[in-house]
Symmetry: C2
Subunit: 161 residues, 2 copies
């Protein structure tokens, strides 16, 4: 009986995963994010502990609702979308330049839908793929496990004036 | 007689300079440029030949007209404004982060007003100063002397999709 229940739970969890990744509830690719507010940029270099999983040039963008969130002391409003665009880095004659795109990581705020992860949904689109994200439920939880430590509603970055 | 003429010419030139820097014809600080389209970013590092005069993290922004210009094969339309924001670079645990602002360099397109410099006016605002640019006529010509070599209407940068 116990195994049957576990089996059902696993099947249910797998279905939920499928729905989150590909179904009508999937987090969608953030079309037009390059026209959104540029929040800040940084480079995760070879000497960084995060280089293996997150190396490259990062540009952070925010849609209008997320800009409201950055500028408030409280929670980001539902509908906020944050984008972390990660690019390869090219070195050329002492200059550090943008290379090809590695991934587009997205945080979407919906306090009801994502109530188990601080109101934020997480997704990552790799390369030029805009159709489906790659995160498993486990990796989403890993995203949240780190982001929940950020003091401003699970968001680490701050917007520059 | 010759000296008098030279004196007049110098005085006239000085007045023109004054007008360009501080008068009604001055190129104004680009209020709100952080909300404009982020074009691209780069870092001019210590190994670059340009480090002394241009070292730091550069973010390029474009107003709506300038975005039209980037996306056309021809000239940028009058009213185009391009911004090159230069920031100090901070290194922290292998990560390269944004520091304080060094300067805001501006290119403004007005084919009539700036007809002697390819239709582009150049100005630089240092630090947090938003009231008056620092470029002399000589330095403006230096800007143009380099930019006129760029193949797309004196603009070196290209916009990413």
């Amino acid at each position: 009986m116990r195994r049957t229940t576990s089996g059902l739970l696993i099947a249910s969890w797998a279905c939920a995963l499928y729905a989150a990744a590909d179904g009508p509830d999937a987090i969608k690719y953030p079309v037009g994010y390059r026209q959104w507010q540029h929040v800040k940029s940084s480079i995760v270099g070879p000497q960084s502990a995060s280089f293996g999983r997150n190396g490259g040039m990062h540009h952070f963008y925010a849609n209008e609702r997320a800009v409201e969130g950055y500028r408030s002391a409280g929670a980001f409003p539902d509908g906020s979308i944050l984008v972390d665009e990660r690019l390869e880095v090219r070195e050329e004659k002492g200059n550090t330049l943008e290379g090809t795109r590695i991934s587009v990581a997205v945080m979407v705020k919906d306090a009801t839908r994502f109530r188990d992860t601080g109101g934020w949904g997480f997704e990552v689109f790799t390369g030029e793929n805009t159709s489906a994200g790659v995160l498993t439920a486990e990796r989403r939880n890993t995203c949240f496990g780190c982001h929940e430590k950020a003091t401003h509603d699970s968001v680490y970055s701050a917007i520059r004036p």
